[in-house]
Symmetry: D2
Subunit: 428 residues, 4 copies
Amino acid sequence: MPAVIDEHPGRQESRAAALAARFVAIRRFSERLAAPLSPEDQTVQSMPDASPTKWHLAHTTWFFETFILARFDGDYQPFDPRYGYLFNSYYEAVGARHPRPQRGLLSRPGVDEILAYRRHVDRAMGELMARAEGKADAALCDLLELGLNHEQQHQELILMDIKHVLSVNPLRPAYQPARPRAETPIWPMRWLRHGGGLVEVGHAGHGFAFDNEGPRHRVWLEPFALATRLVTCAEFLQFIEDDGYRRPEFWLSEGWATINARGWTAPLYWEDVGGRWHVFTLSGQRPVAMDEPVCHVSFFEAAAYAKWAGKRLPTEAEWEQAAATLKLRGNLADTGVLHPMPAADRGGMQQMVGDAWEWTASPYVAYPRYREPEGAIGEYNGKFMANQMVLRGGAAVTPPGHLRITYRNFFPPDTRWMFSGIRLAEDW
Amino acid sequence: MPAVIDEHPGRQESRAAALAARFVAIRRFSERLAAPLSPEDQTVQSMPDASPTKWHLAHTTWFFETFILARFDGDYQPFDPRYGYLFNSYYEAVGARHPRPQRGLLSRPGVDEILAYRRHVDRAMGELMARAEGKADAALCDLLELGLNHEQQHQELILMDIKHVLSVNPLRPAYQPARPRAETPIWPMRWLRHGGGLVEVGHAGHGFAFDNEGPRHRVWLEPFALATRLVTCAEFLQFIEDDGYRRPEFWLSEGWATINARGWTAPLYWEDVGGRWHVFTLSGQRPVAMDEPVCHVSFFEAAAYAKWAGKRLPTEAEWEQAAATLKLRGNLADTGVLHPMPAADRGGMQQMVGDAWEWTASPYVAYPRYREPEGAIGEYNGKFMANQMVLRGGAAVTPPGHLRITYRNFFPPDTRWMFSGIRLAEDW
Amino acid sequence: MPAVIDEHPGRQESRAAALAARFVAIRRFSERLAAPLSPEDQTVQSMPDASPTKWHLAHTTWFFETFILARFDGDYQPFDPRYGYLFNSYYEAVGARHPRPQRGLLSRPGVDEILAYRRHVDRAMGELMARAEGKADAALCDLLELGLNHEQQHQELILMDIKHVLSVNPLRPAYQPARPRAETPIWPMRWLRHGGGLVEVGHAGHGFAFDNEGPRHRVWLEPFALATRLVTCAEFLQFIEDDGYRRPEFWLSEGWATINARGWTAPLYWEDVGGRWHVFTLSGQRPVAMDEPVCHVSFFEAAAYAKWAGKRLPTEAEWEQAAATLKLRGNLADTGVLHPMPAADRGGMQQMVGDAWEWTASPYVAYPRYREPEGAIGEYNGKFMANQMVLRGGAAVTPPGHLRITYRNFFPPDTRWMFSGIRLAEDW
Amino acid sequence: MPAVIDEHPGRQESRAAALAARFVAIRRFSERLAAPLSPEDQTVQSMPDASPTKWHLAHTTWFFETFILARFDGDYQPFDPRYGYLFNSYYEAVGARHPRPQRGLLSRPGVDEILAYRRHVDRAMGELMARAEGKADAALCDLLELGLNHEQQHQELILMDIKHVLSVNPLRPAYQPARPRAETPIWPMRWLRHGGGLVEVGHAGHGFAFDNEGPRHRVWLEPFALATRLVTCAEFLQFIEDDGYRRPEFWLSEGWATINARGWTAPLYWEDVGGRWHVFTLSGQRPVAMDEPVCHVSFFEAAAYAKWAGKRLPTEAEWEQAAATLKLRGNLADTGVLHPMPAADRGGMQQMVGDAWEWTASPYVAYPRYREPEGAIGEYNGKFMANQMVLRGGAAVTPPGHLRITYRNFFPPDTRWMFSGIRLAEDW
């Protein structure tokens, strides 16, 4: 939810114009992500957590239709009134909805019909924005900004989810062609120290942020150090080869139960092919590149690795302090690689932005004095604050322009289909 | 498995030619059934029992490739060697296979690729048949005949399965347009008596039959009577309204547990829409037509209805005796209705062929002295002889030319997505 | 349900006296069976199918209370009115009941209280029987006879169920001391031929029988032969060592799925201890005795073994024909062995009575013209006629005086905690 | 794990003597708790989370045997070497163990045998302690202190678990007699303000504490207020009657899913009996007393109530600050009530100690610079730090002498068989 409050009318006007331009760009980007996929690809749901591509394309559209057009455009005619039921994700306040695990059972509406739905809504949004300019409604702009950030989140989900769909197919089809690359030497882990003390974390500046990123508040930190790069596949492989997945002493109790119940012996998408570890990527299956960050590990695996290594995971406050002055540049979705890349052998913190989301030791809870927004929009973040852990820093599938240093991603500790990696921390 | 043994060479030759012609017709019919469906429709699997349309199109092709081309055509190049794993249904002897409940997770190969696979195999089959003519190999003809009957079974499955896929979609899309029809008066149930005694049942004549239809053998029957038509929706509705689904005294113990665990209160595809029972058909959802046979009931519901009505279900031997002299004509898939129709008000047995498969009181077991064929083909029928009940007579989705009076269909007693109805019997 | 109709008043009187005597004897026998068990033993339910000993002791008592005392004794005061809910097993007509899988959650009433309940009901029954003598009510006698047969069935269940309870305890405690025995040579399988034809099966004579054993009726049999003894552990071990549990060609499809899902590689209660097969018996765990009949196999295992051996299982009509003239003598519960014993090396059919229930190839269905009794008693047998197979001949835990040649036991094909073995048949 | 380090030898000696006395007292108290229970009661496991009483009696004994006698007493002979497998709870480092959900399947060892096991170990412990006096081994004393605190935790579990066992019995048996009490007027909620700032929390003093209570560390708090008493049943009933369980806006997403999946509409042990809410207590079922604290709510229910009330739950640091100066006095297990009591109408914080554990808003994570102890003892606390929430303050079933203000209890947010209640907090 937007924490933005910007009452200057002229700025509001130019804000509306800027948003209208971003609207077009972001909506097109979603369709570009879907373009390499067949109607069959876009229909499949490979697990309850993941949704079909065409569902994402429709749901993001429904968001604008429901929260903006239905409220700000008196003349708006819904494309199909039954879509409200089909494409609501989890907004209890908006009414009943189709069960999440059954999204893959819906062959209709088909991809073509959903693209028509997008055009219908885009046209209405375009007209609404055109009319709105001048009158510059801050509430509309706030919701639009939220809708665009929401669509960007689903862009990342489109890539996460289709990766899973393609991975469960024994044919192991690729989303995009592979770009061969030579492996690089791995430089030894370096550590950046921080003296701790009473610091401030959370969003406070201008511009959009999700409600859960604020309020900005004080936190006391003990002195700590952070690794300047992510854990590599080579390093994680040592953990595996040291029987890491078979030694309970490294694992949280629930983590140990999880890996045994599900038979996990390596990160998601790793497969032993003829005695050699391979990894499935959006560019198909290939041998694991040792210099790349390990990716698609659960919190349980991240924590076990850290314990094996004699280290720990950073808290989100530590992470945010260490990142506070960094630029929002890195291997994000616009590089087109769609997979984590090796860290540059440079001073300073590497891979904090992009490559892989970094598990923190922090459960996802409200910041002090956090208040959920009113209404359905209030369901955006707060209601998920149980049994989830915070991840920071974005990944190679995160759309550019979406991230902030204060951005709090969150997932249950046993999930790993998102692009999640490991950065180590230690006390000093 | 073919019980046919016909050694006369001239007849074998003309048999090969006839089979070649049937091959083309039957293969085309499968594709015609799929034609109204989008790639998205053909991809979805709505429950473990039902398979995606495109899987059926591929699996029937794999059958010819595996059991005929790989054996009789030394030069045959498989379209894609990985398809053996994807499209084997349950033949343990042929090797590992993709798990049945995950067929809907396969977006690739897509519909276009599967149609290309069909053309590849059809071409090779055509050439093989052309070469074979003159030499007329009986084993090849037997397998070809089996393959065609197999494909016809999957044609019925295509219709059963897509009906389920479309039914779980809240949009309730139709497979084909509706053909409106006026309801007709329902004539009272009439009974045809049979004196019983030592009779013969099972397949013995010329022509193809599945292995499980023989050997022909003697059975002792007590005198019985059979209803001359199927139970109508009007009659079944009386059972519902008499609290049939809430009174345990009519139900087998496992049936009572089943309807309570699954919350069944009416046949599959019935839905109370605004206080009126509707039914979902391949032509969409519409009010239940009272004159039509009730359809999509489980064995448990059929048996409970019969008990409520003070009757019972026929055994399969009784059914076969009563049907022995009937013509194989009725409301089968070639009428294009794809739904059971009211019985004609005529003397004699009505609706024995087509409309709806009729549950019998007979568990599906081997006939005396039955022997499974050798090899993978032996897995066709025998291994399913546990916890299933026999159904007889075909349904409105059964392809013409596929049925026999001795035909034994079989399903577990709690299934109902096939077109299954009720014919009553009684002692006398 | 009693098929007995015997209107001669004098005989009724002596029947009542005889029943009164049997009542005392049978009731005592239940308590004797429970005597070696601690209160803790009698409380545990080790799987949903099996019930705690003390539940059996109470449920059999509830049967007399509900179906006899409540009906025939106007002055009867229930021991505790809440027991009706706790100790009804499955009689829907009698009202709601405690869920079967939760019987092991009931610590109260305790064993002492249940024994007091038994004494309360026994006293009332004794008085009722005393008053009834002379007036000799046939309906009461019929129900009493049913109640006694019912209690005998639960005596067998007490032994089956406590065997399972003790077996899941890593301490492997014994119900009774072991009686060491020297192994005997195994004589080769012999076959008894039967010419088939039109035969009669089912109960028709005087004396008690369950409803499902009749009516007596005609059946046509093809010529067949029956093995004159049960399959031994030595023979079954050959099946195991020939990879019987790993070769799908011997298995029904559902059987193959069952053994893989449950990880079965041997009969229930077999365990590989240090490279040697051991078996858990009511006298504790010990090495498998090769000369004994294999026991505790499911129908799926019995059918797979028969197929591997190139034979088949008998139908229940075949079995009954072969047994028709046998005496009801054998290794039943009164030998005290409580485990199958090797067959005597003699001519004629061996082990038909006692030792192990014999799986037949016959699904459990109603005989022609079978009618369920009215009322709750009608739920005794008929409602279980789905997805079960018939077993014949009794076992080493069957109480003497309970069995008949026409007796039809029945279990689902995947169950094996009853004492079930294998007798082979073949066509000739 | 003991944080105690106390090297002064004389004090060590008197510490050993004091511990020896506490050993006897605490061991006796466990047996006194079990005394009202029959062998049947002590055998039942009513859900996987809860263990049979006799298992608790044996497991606490195994703890002393394994971690003290096996290490410090070279002559010790285990009572039964197989008990290690049966009575290990979750110590992976100690070896394999019997699966937790199957503890209720073990009828043997019986209660008498387990009491003999206790006497065997108590005798050996007594001798060890006697020998140890003078030599005064700090490691032994630390482990002994841990073992006693461990046994006290299981004393609370004995009461929690047997309450659940008795509650699922339709007879609703009582653990102890009821003590009637007149209801008192409920005084309005009052609030105690705290100015926040940089505070210290965690254990630092002398004496035993669990490892997870330290290290003592600084935390920044915003100003807050805490309710001076727990939420009453009367107040919680208003939430229920305001459709609290049917309005998603109050619930965390996972909480909403939980209450719907499990059909929760009130706290555990509440039951609508003839239109009036009753509650099951260790003294049997009776009408809900409106003045008592609501108890047996999950974190989800506590959080939903707080949101409905326009408040929030306290963090554990807030709770600890507010409690810092309180005496460890309250309604603990030694009052014998074994149920929360109404708050006294007095100034100051009420019910902070005893009555009901208080859900905090804090996930259970390690304090900064926390290190797990080495070895099996290290599994005591740290490995549970995922998906659990902290509760503070003890309950009416917590043994006296066990609690500290810094004590951190923890449970998953969907559990409620412990005595858990609600204290509200707010920002100011």
